[in-house]
């Protein structure tokens, strides 16, 4: 099953990405994680274009979206996903530093499935990412459009 259920992590900050991967490593799901460094890359992945032209077809099991990203912001990516009939079913979890009420309200209004504020403390951050990875990557049953191994 490993590698068949990709988790998409949109994180422009490589350190944050590294820390998140370190956390997921403890959960043994780090090899499923695809890291995109900006919103445009996320859309490229979802629409199988650009660098992801030749990837396996299918949607990721979950998208972890940072709000503040270069080129296309998290909220714009979220809007695109939830407006596309083929992508709408992908669970989207906002994973961000912002606790601002405005961001929370807009994210949920656009159809975010969860909103997680990154804890400053590393232990809390690790446990949060681990739990998220475990829940969305393992426990939760994804919608049928998720990538299947094509043989």
């Amino acid at each position: 099953m490993t590698g068949t259920k990709p988790i998409l992590l949109a994180e422009d900050n490589p350190r944050d990405a590294e820390l998140a991967l370190a956390a997921m490593e403890e959960q043994n799901i780090s090899d499923k994680v695809v890291v995109c460094q900006d919103g445009a890359e996320v859309l490229d992945y979802l629409y199988c274009r650009g660098a992801f032209k030749s990837r396996l077809k299918g949607n990721p099991v979950v998208v972890f979206l940072d709000l503040k990203m270069p080129k296309v912001t998290g909220l714009e990516v979220l809007r695109t996903i939830k407006a596309d009939a083929n992508l709408r079913s992908i669970p989207v979890v906002m994973l961000t530093s912002s606790r601002e009420e405005r961001d929370l309200r807009e994210s949920y209004a656009l159809g975010a499935n969860a909103y997680v504020v990154k804890p400053v403390e590393f232990h809390q951050f690790v446990s949060a990412v681990k739990e998220l990875g475990a829940f969305w990557g393992v426990i939760n049953e994804p919608p049928p459009e998720v990538s299947r191994p094509e043989k």
Binding site: R15, L19, K68, E100, P119, V120, V126
Partner: protein
């Protein structure tokens, strides 16, 4: 009246200038020249009303302008009415004079006729010629009654009427005497009389008096004509000046209102401009705090994260010292995270819209105590909580206030074996209710009382009591937004009392 207008204009000229004394003097000087009085005296004379006028509000200025217009209209109307009455009275007197003159000439004519016919009678003895005489004798009292009526009010003319009466009586008496003589002695007895005419002198006298009276009346009439003409001219001039004055006054009032409107428009524009600036500043602040919350947290997370990863990576070779260093790095990162969070709350409390409801402080304090239950574990605290009232305000914000103050009381009594914390109402007036929170903790030196509520102000070292120094700043900010006050009393090692005064009426901000 005219000078009132000048003063209004001069007052207005100076009112539009904002500099105090110089424009006042400028406005007054030219008037001094116009009046021709000594300038010094004049300017001090004008200064009082001008100063008075300048001290009035715009409403009072406009009202005084309209009052002056009203008064001038009243005065002009009164004077015009007076002049018109005189004209009407003169007209009536003229009619009487004409009648009098007419009557006098009739009397004189009748007397002449009577005298002539009387003479004819004396010569012919024909009774027919006595007809005039008889009618004169018969009508004389009526005529004189009429004369007296027409000369009423003029003693001079009355006197002449008396004289005339006398003369006519004498004339008629003489004529009566002649008639008797003719009847007794025949034509011979009165021949001389009849031929020469008699009482010529008296008739002449009568004519003289009539002429005098006529002259007098004509004189009076021409005087009245002059008087009426003068009155009419005065009225016309007065109406002209009045119209001019009212025009000036109304123009002044219009000018005042116009100035006021312009000023108000400018103020409104300025207000709008400032409102826009404020809104822009607020937006900027919002995006600033957004950046703070997002961007400042990330490096802290990295510091803590990599410190942890490092600790894990070198776990086997880590000595106690190195472990403590890593611990300090993590703790500092966490502390700064806390500072950022507190600052964000502080900034949010300043701009967040207030939700106005009625807040039950008693219930609110109980909720706060429930939220603090973890901090209260292992502590022995004797609580004294009085019944607290309801106040208008924002429940979440007020909760923050009591959370901070009560948590402080708990924190600063931590060294006491038994902590005493009392919460109650200090006093209650019609305008506000003062709630206190008293503890028997470490207290503070009153000379630092003013620093208590400042941002990042701490009266204790970090290793004594933790905290960022924002709690009480937040308390003050929220209470101020509710239109209330906060202060504290205490002494070192003898506990502290925090007072929160909240208005019981409607809240402003």
């Amino acid at each position: 009246m005219f000078w009132d207008a000048v003063w209004i204009v001069s007052a207005m000229e100076s009112a539009t200038n904002n500099e105090a004394q110089i424009p006042l003097a400028q406005a007054v000087e030219p008037i001094a020249g116009v009046t021709g009085t000594q300038p010094a005296e004049s300017s001090s004379f004008w200064r009082t009303p001008v100063a008075w006028f300048r001290s009035r509000t715009i409403e009072q200025r406009i009202l005084s302008g309209f009052s002056l217009v009203f008064v001038s209209v009243l005065v002009i109307s009164a004077i015009s009415y007076w002049n018109t009455s005189i004209l009407v009275a003169n007209g009536r007197l003229d009619a009487r004079s004409h009648e009098l003159v007419q009557l006098l000439s009739e009397i004189a004519e009748a007397m002449d006729e009577t005298e002539n016919n009387h003479r004819r009678y004396l010569v012919t003895g024909d009774e027919l010629y006595l007809r005039d005489y008889r009618s004169v004798v018969k009508q004389k009292p009526m005529f004189f009654k009429y004369l007296e009526d027409l000369t009423e009010g003029s003693s001079e003319q009355r006197q002449r009427v008396g004289l005339l009466n006398q003369m006519i009586d004498r004339q008629l008496a003489a004529e009566a005497d002649a008639i008797t003589k003719l009847a007794d002695g025949g034509f011979e007895a009165v021949k001389k009389m009849a031929l020469e005419g008699f009482g010529k002198e008296d008739i002449g006298k009568i004519h003289e008096i009539v002429a005098e009276m006529e002259w007098y009346e004509r004189q009076a009439m021409s005087l009245r004509v002059m008087e009426s003409a003068a009155g009419t001219t005065n009225t016309i001039i007065l109406l002209g000046i009045g119209a001019l004055l009212q025009f000036v006054l109304l123009a002044s009032v219009y000018y005042l209102i116009q100035c006021d409107i312009t000023e108000r428009r400018l103020v409104a524009e300025e207000l709008q401009r400032r409102g826009e600036l404020l809104e822009a500043a607020n937006k900027e602040l919002e995006s600033f705090s957004y950046s703070v919350s997002h961007d400042l947290r990330a490096p802290l997370r990295h510091i803590d994260g990599y410190a942890s990863l490092l600790r894990k990576a070198v776990a086997d070779s880590l000595n106690d010292k190195a472990a403590r260093y890593l611990e300090t790095i993590s703790a500092s990162a966490k502390q700064m995270g806390q500072l950022i969070d507190d600052l964000l709350v502080f900034s949010r409390m300043g701009r967040q819209e207030m939700l106005h409801t009625t807040v039950d402080l008693h219930q609110l304090v109980n909720t706060v105590l429930y939220d603090l239950r973890l901090d209260l574990q292992g502590r022995e605290i004797s609580w004294t909580i009085e019944k607290l009232p309801e106040v208008p305000g924002d429940a979440a914000m007020l909760r923050q206030v009591f959370m901070n103050v009560i948590a402080n009381a708990v924190k600063f009594t931590s060294a006491r074996p038994v902590a005493n914390i009392a919460i109650g109402v200090d006093r209650r007036t019609d305008e506000e209710v003062v709630v206190f929170v008293r503890d028997n903790g470490v207290g503070f030196d009153m000379q630092y009382a003013s620093k208590l509520f400042g941002v990042f102000q701490r009266l204790h070292r970090v290793d004594e009591f933790e905290g960022t120094g924002i709690g009480l700043a937040n308390v003050r900010r929220i209470v101020h937004r509710h239109g209330g006050r906060t202060w504290a009393e205490g002494a070192t090692d003898q506990g502290a009392t925090f007072y929160i005064a909240l208005p019981t009426g409607e809240i402003g901000s």
